[in-house]
Symmetry: C2
Subunit: 419 residues, 2 copies
């Protein structure tokens, strides 16, 4: 193999462990100096490649690179940017190849969700067509846990642990208060299409019947009457009711429940509220219970302080495996997590063709959702439980985690700005 440079980029919504994957990529690339020269990282994701804004990872200290393993967010910047279909506008794809050629980049590591795997796949095809030798390796990442083939996605285990822990804690709070005050607590979590994150709320339970009492998934159409009946029955039996709701829960007509809260505020602005307040207000209006609600938003996917040790380990291992696949001469593949045993949990690294991964969303299977649609099954619990196992605490200084900051030294541009 000829020695060449590598390109790495972070894509889409970031996670508590995407930097652990970056750490795995960078440390492993450094072990293969015979074939991999520098790792050039896209500033703010793939747009960094399009704009030839490249960060020279070799200028970062070993200590900073190691610190990436326990730093949340995307340390090199990420982006929400989907390349246009090649048939519609081939310029972006050609520009990528042009930038790669200018910087002698022959390894392309793209760390993201389904869209990113699709991009990596298309770039690999184009490289082949243009006769430019480019090895494209997708590296999985998404809190949504919705990539196919891989048993789970790095980022998910940590957000799942955050949701389980937070649900357990808030449930103890409301249980203390319910005799004279708040009777319903609603926690809104991420998941526009797939309910994996909301499902993880069930891991808060020590035993059946413990909170959360109701889980609302995007896979199950929201039925207001049945839901309110269930809340009422739960408060009658337990004295309080804890609901975990996925932001993407919809009515049978496909409309987001969260959207039904849209209204004008005092300034005449559209008030897009999130689904938790809509659900909570619905309960108080119809059943009269005092409520509290929380919207975790970025807190959940950035919560490195309560990351799953399993997730951190897998995120790192996938970064390592991506480089190993490249060094082994592979292209258009993505390393995956293969589960070999549930309990005790065992896993190994596998690989999937990008063509099998691109643009496929994995939803909660029917066998994971309870018949009444308000809970998950024992089978789902068996799947989810090991993914939140273990704690991997960051170091603290002055009472807060010591997260690293990179130098982000840019590589000199070699191409004209206009393309």
């Amino acid at each position: 193999m000829v020695k060449a440079n590598a390109f790495y980029a972070q894509s889409g919504g970031v996670t508590a462990v995407i930097n652990a994957t970056a750490c795995g990529v960078l440390q492993t690339a450094a072990e293969h100096k015979d074939v991999i020269g520098k790792v050039l990282v896209g500033a703010n994701g793939i747009v960094g490649a399009l704009n030839e804004e490249l960060i020279d990872a070799s200028k970062e200290s070993k200590r900073a690179i190691a610190g990436l393993r326990s730093t949340p967010g995307g340390a090199f910047g990420s982006c929400r940017y989907k390349l246009k279909p090649y048939a519609e506008d081939p310029r972006e794809y050609h520009r990528l190849i042009e930038v790669f050629q200018a910087h002698n980049i022959r390894y392309f590591f793209y760390n993201g969700g389904g869209d990113s795997q699709d991009t990596a796949n298309k770039v690999s095809q184009l490289g082949a067509r243009l006769g430019y030798p480019l090895q494209c390796i997708g590296v999985p990442k998404t809190v949504d846990n919705d990539l196919p083939v891989t048993d789970c996605c790095p980022g998910f285990g940590s957000v799942a642990k955050y949701v389980a822990v937070s649900t357990k804690e808030a449930a103890l709070d409301i249980e203390s208060m319910c005799a004279t005050s708040t009777k319903v607590f609603v926690l809104e979590v991420m998941g526009r299409h797939a309910g994996w994150i909301a499902a993880a709320g069930a891991l808060a339970r020590d035993q059946a019947g413990d909170p959360p009492h109701i889980i609302l998934l995007p896979e199950v159409p929201f039925n207001r009457q049945q839901f309110l009946r269930r809340v009422k029955a739960t408060v009658a039996e337990k004295g309080f009711c804890v609901v975990v709701v996925s932001e993407g829960v919809r009515f049978a007509n496909g409309k987001f429940v969260g959207e039904s809260g849209a209204a004008k505020d005092a300034f005449g602005h559209a008030q897009l509220g999130g689904v938790a307040p809509v659900i909570a207000n619905m309960i108080t209006a119809k059943l009269g219970y005092k409520h509290h609600w929380a919207v975790a938003d970025y807190l959940q996917r950035a919560a490195r302080h309560i990351a799953s040790a399993t997730d951190v380990e897998q995120a790192y291992a996938l970064g390592r495996a991506a480089v190993k696949l490249a060094v082994a001469g592979k292209t258009a593949v993505m390393p995956t997590i293969v589960r070999t045993n549930d309990s005790p949990y065992r896993w190994k690294i596998g690989e999937a063709k990008l063509s099998k991964v691109a643009n496929v969303e994995r939803f909660m299977p029917k066998s994971y959702i309870s018949k009444d649609g308000f809970d998950i099954t024992a089978r789902a619990m068996r799947y989810l439980r090991p993914l939140i196992a273990g704690e991997d605490y960051p170091r603290y200084k002055n009472g807060v985690p010591e997260y690293v900051r990179l130098r982000q030294q840019r590589v000199a541009k070699k191409l004209p700005e206009q393309w």
Copy 2:
């Protein structure tokens, strides 16, 4: 001293460490069996005394009592219940004395905020007036940190740590995304009247200029124009803007900013939204930036998983001190935290008369608020920093914290139900 029983109750909104105080009370009472018999605990706070619903703490295992130190929420139940003024309705006060007499209770430990200290003070006066020997000791607790005399309040340090850590993590997330997507993040935290909790967001910073860029306190009237100008300038300079807002922030006319978001949802319900979405929508409407917002609600005050070790230690120490004060023959007092040095931080236990504590709210002093009203001062940082120091992790099992559950065995009633 004659040996008699003690009564303990948890009052008001619970915290991550109120059970650590209970642990201190119960373990210390057990060391003074010569004067303190059983500790009888009010089921759901003071209403447990009024209804003669008492939990016999001696029936709990030593292991469970020890586990209270790392369990959030109120393990015996709390309540939002303020006794009516004595002049208006003396019956409740007389009922308390009647229940205490029936169960040979001569020590009254009331664990709560300003209202509870007032109740404890009044009960002590009534006991004296009726010739019933009762030692009333207030035990401080409130995430709001608004009790006077004491340097800080147990519960606050942990919610402050949660807010600092969460702000730091979410800021890394949005910084990753801001080049192509979200530019503003708004985190809503507790604090109806005093801004201590929002102020703690500033502890997220490693250095000046780091996020959060704007802190909105209830002590400072909200000026929409100035706020929007500051957001715009911050995005221009930093590329993104992180705002921590206290739920209690108000306009100059006294109206809560959160209330201006009140509107009818699709079902015609009043939609009380919280202040974060109002602020976030205001920014998007006027400046066009994409936003994200989070409302931490109960998650912040229940977050035992990220409790401040300092706060846990002080909460426990105050429980111990309360019993020591009783054993020393004191009444109508509350143990306090006295700061003896800022850096290195040193503190000791002091005591305050309940009459000095009752019904006084402590706000952020002017010297703690920056001139422009959007930040806190170095002096405030010096006060806040040590309160979040140290981590005190609970034990984990199956990926979630192992929090204790009590047996809560009730004591047989001795009085008629009607009173």
